[in-house]
Amino acid sequence: MKWSEFFVTGEPLIYAADVSIVLTAIGIVFVLTYFKKWKWLWNEWLTTVDHKKIGVMYIISAVLMLFRGGVDALLMRAQLTVPNMKFLDSQHYNEIFTTHGTIMIIFMAMPFIIGLMNIVVPLQIGARDVAYPYLNALSFWLFFVGAMLFNIAFVIGGSPDAGWTSYFPLASKEFSPGVGNNYYAVALQISGIGTLMTGINFLVTILKMRAPGMTLMRMPMFTWTILITCVIIIFAFPVFTVALALMTFDRLFDTQFFTMANGGMSMLWANLFWIWGHPEVYIVVLPAFGIFSEVVSTFARKRLFGYKAMVFSIVGIAFLSFLVWVHHFFTMGAGAAVNSFFSITTMAIAIPTGVKIFNWLFTLRKGKIRFTTAMLWSLAFIPNFVIGGVTGVMLAMAAADYQYHNSYFLIAHFHYVLIAGTVFACFAGLHYWYPKMFGHILNERLGKWTFWLFMIGFNICFFPMYFLGLMGMTRRMYTYSAGLGWTPLNVVATVGAALMGIGFIVLCYNIYYSARYGERDMTGDPWDGRTLEWATSSPVAHYNFAIIPEVTDLDAYWVMKKTGKGLEIDEEKLKPIHMPSNSGRPFLISIAFFFAGFGLVFEWYTMAIIATIFIILGLILRSFDDDDGYYISVDEIKRTERLARKGA
């Protein structure tokens, strides 16, 4: 690595990015110093182990990453709008589609979902925190430094450019000699550790910390989907960890796992990547199903139709999700038997998914439907996701896939399932649970503007891509000639992308507007909710429940409201509440991870080793830590609860 190559140079866009990064950093430091907020930042956020605050930080990071990934997307659409465009060169285009894909999946969709589950799951099961609050903070900060490490690549050293799948041999040292793909291997590894720990944490939380009376079959549907998602995380992520480690060895230490020569097997990377990659799809879409289930049931004022069928469908999907990975590379040539097997398992997934679609429709049937923003996202999800699902079944036919493979047909398909599934769910969940996070409601009028702009823009952007794919336009091409006849549909797609961008801007304005003028939620139950999170005040007291509720049926809070039992807090029954202490160590360990990762990326091993020593030191200090947390006194609980109730 030469010092002259340390900073990326040569592109006006990069210089603009440099300037904006420096200005933003100065701005943040200035604001924190001017308003004397450093201490607040450290005490309230950087050291917190409160699942709600960690969830909020996940969501803020996810929205930032949505911005980054969205800008990448708009740059690509700008380049593809008309033939022979000179806006981006081929190398820059490669880097942008790589970072777009990686950021949107790993650093946007997953943290958004994990943020919502951090905030909601302990509340839904009537717990006061997750099973391992300290680990939870470490999970977040590892994700965060992983994301930052990945993001600085485009100004320092150069972005990865081998696609979000980073297939070998292209991603090998031989064909991608820069540090870009080191960033991919190391940053994803670091944030992957965080994700794996989150999976373990929430699995234990859901299995061990449910309120008395909440059997597994009385759990809210969102909690069910998170439970199954955690199982998938625990079984799928280790495969990715190993694959990334082998990739790192190949790139840094000249091992030959995925190389072309010396007995390496480059296609094995694709195999391992998708053994993780396909379950990963369900890691981001099952929680989305959970969110839609909650929202549809609440705003149709009905109990979820076919609860048991829903549970068995999720379990079925999770089981099948490990048996379909080869459909991502039918064209690799594994032969008819292999392709047929994976073709059939893939089509089989449509069955439990179809069951779920019908369950949502039957929940809506004869319901008293309220068209709130969260509900609009959920209603739009059903037809849009079905379009994505049906084209998925088309792609599942191995023989036909030889035509569709890596064309824009595929691009359209997975954007239809990931945006209409995960992104719509994130927005629905954000609107739905926003009062629980911040104590005020996101403005509904602006929310509906976001919805219509984004949803219409989404269809205008991605529906033409099905046809572009059938007309022969392939994935990852950075330009095309005029004679191919692709121009009109590409122009249409770019218009749609711009509408989605405007929708995102309205959403950001809505967050600002609602913070200033938004309706305060004094009741704690603004939507007439059904599950336990609505039994708490908004925003939630940091111990969540003054008294742990008793659960007698599904939709526990709804039952409490109908019978009138358990709504009032009997102050006689209050007991001191045991809470975990804050700790700065997860944050500091993660900073050490950042420097260890940075050292590995640039092969500066002294730096990596020193930083690793700090990581191990942090782990040792934790092992000898005998801080058992602290107790909140009954008087303080009384004060907090009376204050929250006075507002009502």
Partner: protein, 99 residues
Amino acid sequence: MATNDHHETFPWKHVIGFVLSLVLTFAALWVVLSSGLATKLIIGIIVILAMLQASLQLFMFMHMTESDSGKIQTINMAYAFFIAIVIVIGSIWVMWFVV
């Protein structure tokens, strides 16, 4: 936040498990680097060592025998074996055409 009431004075089980894990790891390394056996035999030996290592860790570190919810434990282990078999046998089957 449940407290564990019966702390042992010294975690002997963990130390023994740790030492045995190191022994097994270095044994695997030695077999590959300097035993001079035939490749197929080496692969067979390190697979057996890996399985020994995995079961050792399950019993020494993962509290396999200490849980009060045996049903969850059983389902979990069965599923883990299923996934492991799918990944290993599946990968071999899928990648067979390259070999």
